[in-house]
Structures are given as C-alpha cells and as structure tokens.
C-alpha cells in the first residue's frame, strides 16, 4: 500500500473542481450535465478511497458508491429528457437562453 490516502482525495478534489468549473461555465446544457457527472465521479472516488483506507473490512463505501451510480443514472436520464424537451419547445440548448425564471 504505497499510495497515501491523501493522493486519492486530492485527485477527487481536482476532478470535482474541474467538474464544477464545467457546470458553471459551459453554455451548452449537456456540457453542464457532463460537469455534473465529473463531480459525481469525484464523490465516488472519495467514497471508495475512504472505504479502502478507513474501513476495508466492511463494504459500506462501495454500497454508497452504488447508490451514487443510481442517482447519476436517474439524473442523466431526466436531465437529457429535459434538454431534449427544451430543445424541442424553445429550439435552444444554451443554458443562458433558458431564463424564463426571470420573468
């Protein structure tokens, strides 16, 4: 076990920040979704790493990771359906143009 836990955590933190940047800066709605996926992946790396280094005898970390997978799948299905619906109704996928909330 030559890799310290911190490395994984920092990797996850970097992935999370990159994903966050994607969510905040992409104009394409699907680009935003991709950023969210990266963030979820980062979370999962953390979960599995904690499992491996802090409580390897139990399996809790992996089970949480599986729940995150389900959430990610649900999120992407609904998110993409929304994007397609918006595309069909408003003919745009640019997040900035989806601002009905303002009115």
């Amino acid at each position: 076990m030559s890799i310290p836990l911190n490395w994984y955590l920092v990797l996850a933190a970097a992935l999370f920040s990159i994903g966050l940047y994607g969510v905040l800066s992409r104009r394409h709605a699907i680009g935003m979704l991709m950023g969210i996926e990266l963030m979820l992946n980062a979370v999962n790396i953390n979960l599995v790493a904690f499992w491996r280094y802090i409580d390897p005898a139990k399996i809790t970390g992996q089970i949480f990771a599986i729940f995150v997978f389900t959430v990610a799948a649900a999120e992407v299905a609904v998110g993409l359906a929304l994007v397609i619906a918006i595309y069909r109704n408003r003919n745009t996928v640019v997040v900035e143009e989806i601002d009905l909330l303002k009115e």
Binding site: L24, I45, R52, A85
Partner: protein, 170 residues
C-alpha cells in the same frame, strides 16, 4: 514504486481528459473525453482494489450514460456549431472559484488527520455486498429502485412529444 507510477499515469489521464471535457470547443469531443475520464476513474477503482465498482463504472457510465449523452448531443446538434462561443461570460470567475475551492479542499485534506487502517479487502466482496444491500441497506436500496423507476417514467413523460405536438407536426 509501480503502483505510484500507475497512479500518476492514471490520474494524469483522468484529469487531462476532465479538463478537455470542460474546455473543448466541440461538445461531442467533450463527450468522448468524458468517456476517457470515466475509464480513468474506473482504473482508479481498480487501484483501490474495488473491481466490482470499476466494472459497474464502465457498464453504467460508459455503457449507458456516456452513450445517452452522445446521443442527445447528436439529436440537438443543429444548434451548437463549434464556431459558437462555448463558455459563458462568467467563466473567469467560475475558474477562480473552482481553483479556490480546490485549494480549500486540498488544504482540508492535508490538514485533516485521517484514521487510516491497514487491512485487506474482504475475500468475497460481491456476496458481502449483496447481503448488506438486502439487510442493512434494504431501505435505501428500495428507495433507489423507486428513484430509478420514477426517473424512467419521468424522462419518458418529459421527453416524448405530446399528442398535440405530433398532431400539429403532421
């Protein structure tokens, strides 16, 4: 030494791909880089001795999510040519915020004192996981399945054309 090298390579690939995902001007290329990032993360799981999670990662993220994303991009491609600006005007602040967040997280990681334990992984993790899922975590498990069902129904409802629309289209 070998694991360190492998870790370094894997994390470089993952982070590089991730950066490409958020910065590439062509959304479709971003999606393929996303696949690469997913592969990288799966390799990280392998390094962490969680092959099941790694395989599930490939199965769900690449086999389902990435393909859905690519599909959706193709369906909506008419509007996003690669000449268009792909980042909004607040990108600089976003980048700054993300960097600061990374700094804070990194600082946290290094200042915390993790109670790490040396120990071997369970011999038969999959059986153990199945037992745990159906005993300790049975309620979250059921809720997750309801969530998936709800997402399924919801996305069909949202995504399908309403009868009126398709009729007017005819």
């Amino acid at each position: 030494m070998v694991p360190v090298l492998v870790f370094a390579a894997v994390s470089l690939v993952t982070l590089g791909a991730a950066i490409a995902v958020v910065t590439n001007k062509n959304v479709l290329h971003s999606a393929y880089f996303l696949v690469l990032a997913f592969v990288g993360v799966a390799s990280v799981y392998v390094l962490l001795e969680a092959p099941f999670i790694a395989v599930i990662q490939v199965l769900i993220y690449i086999g389902a999510i990435a393909i859905l994303i690519i599909f959706a991009i193709m369906l909506t491609r008419r509007l996003m040519s690669k000449d268009m600006e792909q980042r909004n005007h607040q990108w600089f602040w976003s980048a700054l915020g993300a960097l600061v967040l990374f700094g804070v997280l990194g600082w946290l990681v290094y200042s915390a004192n993790w109670p790490t334990v040396e120990g071997a992984v369970p011999k038969d993790p999959i059986t153990l996981m199945g037992q745990e899922l159906l005993t300790t975590y049975v309620i979250p498990f059921e809720i997750a399945s309801v969530l998936l069902l709800a997402a399924l129904v919801g996305s069909i409802l949202i995504g399908r054309e309403s009868d009126q629309e398709s009729r007017s289209a005819e």
